[in-house]
């Protein structure tokens, strides 16, 4: 195993994983010396009754959440974050609970930066490691198993007036507690379960094969890949399988911890651009692009992909293969997995089927080449290569 000349790894999130894990939220708040939490969620989560489940957990605890902000929109817009931060201050709240997917958790991270720094201007914190000091107590309750936002140091927030997405990266933004309860994800429909599960798989594979990989991120990534290989198809077929739901939530968390410390690469660079330009859901873009990006990286990431195959399949199925054959078989496995998911829940396997138009390519290329995720990619990338990958995935 290659040990980098220097690396950093940080994950300070306390993990609560299991059935009825949400019932421990009041106890954890007391541990964090908090009594006046503000809950952030979105309309879908509210309609599904998931926010009520979290609220009911406070029964008899002596803690009453100050309010629920239940209209957090997708893409974590800046104006909403300013509004929530003002409410937090005006009502003397002392902690945050985010119940939702990546957008809700990222919004809570943005609010936490503002309320902890007594600032009104989130722009002061854009960039790498600009958030300093301990932030307010923050509990994340993910309702999808994919983004891993509950374990990541990143928040992507949208400035809707200037039409730009801003990236905030700091270890200080990590939640204090992440709550993985299978009840919170069991109502996800099959195609979203598949897309978010593939997102988690891409996080893990890219963290394992990228240029920032390190022994600790590898442990998280490899465990995530194993769990996803065992549970993704069963949970897409049967969303009520609580054990598989819990396993996928754990995989998503571990993949998040892995890529927080060994950044994702080309699939994400292109996928972010495809999402921004052609409005393809992130998980869908990830699953379509993954095999093509792996093919591009095959030469430089051969040993990593060969190892990934040993996490995806039983050892007796791979032991006779050479490293080169294993790496190729790894890509074949991913392609077969996508075909199977397409059969089960119609997860698109081509960009054209996901709504991307060929005339979008130039803008996608221009955005992707400037995405920070191209830097850790194991193989060289330029505009021509990105366009070739788009053509092949179309």
């Amino acid at each position: 195993m290659r040990i980098p000349d220097y690396f950093e790894f940080h994950n300070s999130v306390k993990l609560l994983s299991g059935f009825k894990a949400i019932s421990h939220i009041p106890f954890e708040l007391k541990n964090l010396n908090s009594e006046r939490p503000l809950i952030l969620t979105d309309q879908t989560i509210k309609k599904l009754g998931l926010a009520d489940k979290v609220l009911n957990a406070f029964d008899g605890s002596g803690i009453v959440p100050v309010a629920i902000f239940d209209d957090i929109p997708a893409d974590a817009p800046l104006n909403k974050i300013n509004e929530v931060a003002k409410f937090y201050r005006d009502n003397n709240c002392d902690s945050l609970i985010a119940v939702g997917g990546g957008s809700v958790i990222d919004s809570a991270k943005g609010v936490n930066i503002l309320v902890s720094s007594d600032s009104d201007n989130l722009m002061d914190f854009v960039g790498l490691d600009k958030v300093s000091g301990k932030l307010r107590p923050f509990i994340a309750v993910p309702t999808t198993s994919g983004t891993g936002s509950e374990a990541t140091l990143v928040a992507v927030i949208t400035d809707t007036e200037r039409h730009i997405k801003m990236e905030f990266i700091s270890y200080n933004m990590l939640p204090d507690v992440a709550v993985l309860d299978p009840e919170m994800t069991e109502s996800l429909p099959p195609h979203i379960t598949a897309a978010t599960g593939m997102d988690a798989l891409v996080h893990a594979i890219e963290a394992y094969s990228g240029r920032q990989k390190n022994p600790i991120s590898d442990v998280h990534a490899s465990a995530a890949i194993k769990i996803i290989a065992e549970n993704l198809i069963p949970v897409v077929k049967n969303g009520r399988d609580k054990k598989a739901r819990l396993a996928m939530a754990n995989a998503s968390f571990m993949a998040g911890a892995a890529f927080s410390n060994s950044m994702v690469s080309l699939t994400h660079a292109i996928g972010h651009a495809v999402g921004a330009v052609s409005h393809v859901p992130h998980g869908v873009a990830m699953s379509i692009l993954l095999p093509w990006c792996m093919k591009h990286n095959l030469k430089m990431a051969e040993s990593s992909y060969a190892e990934v195959l040993t996490f995806l399949k039983k050892i007796e199925d791979v032991v006779a293969l050479s490293e080169k054959e294993r790496a190729q078989a790894c890509i074949n496995y991913i392609e077969d997995l996508l075909v199977e998911l397409n059969k089960i829940c119609k997860l698109p396997v081509k960009l054209g089927d996901a709504g991307v138009k060929k005339e979008d390519f130039d803008e996608i290329v221009a955005r992707a080449i400037n995405d920070g995720a191209v830097v850790p990619n194991p193989e060289f990338v330029d505009e021509t290569i990105i366009k070739e990958i788009l053509e092949k995935a179309f």
Partner: protein
């Protein structure tokens, strides 16, 4: 009680100071002769300020975009950087400044923090990579990059222009 004495590394400070000056002038010089570097930097607005410093002792070197080119402004100015690259220590910055580590590798190893809009900062990192391609010999570059950045002029032209710019800016410290 034991007296605490911290030795100052004058050598590293000196290297950092000299190389920052060379690098800053090289950016100004090569962006005039290399279309790739020019292209990477042309998207940044006029007046855009880029700073480079080594924490805690190093001074900040500033580059400001004027008339389409990033110009070396030395370390004395009181500018607010749009993009500020802060190496976490002199030990992190010296190998990069001497060509033993690429700016990209330093980024991946968390050797520096980057303040400013991350979404638009990669052009600066790529341009610095191209400038390194002018400054360092091929055998060093092969160790630094997966693929050595293409340069669009003779290496000697870039070096002569850099020396020329250094003389022109010799008063700028």
């Amino acid at each position: 009680m034991m007296k605490i004495k911290i030795y100052r590394s004058f050598g590293k400070r000196l290297i950092s100071k000299v190389v920052l000056k060379v690098l800053g002038n090289a950016v100004e010089a090569t962006s005039k002769v290399d279309k790739n570097i020019y292209h990477e930097l042309e998207g940044y607005k006029e007046g855009c300020v880029v700073g480079l410093k080594a924490y805690p002792a190093g001074k900040t070197m500033f580059l400001i975009k004027e008339d389409g080119v990033f110009r070396y402004k030395g370390t004395k100015g009181d500018y607010i950087a749009d993009y500020l690259i802060v190496f976490k220590s002199l030990d992190d910055s010296v190998p990069v400044f001497l060509g033993f580590k690429s700016i990209e590798a330093a980024y991946l190893e968390h050797r520096f923090v980057l303040e400013g809009d991350l979404m638009t900062s990669l052009g600066i990192l790529r341009a610095l990579g191209c400038v390194e391609a002018y400054l360092f010999p091929k055998f060093m570059l092969k160790k630094l990059f997966i693929k050595v950045p293409k340069i669009y002029n003779l290496k000697i032209v870039g070096l002569v222009k850099t020396v020329n710019t250094l003389f022109k800016n010799w008063r700028v410290v």
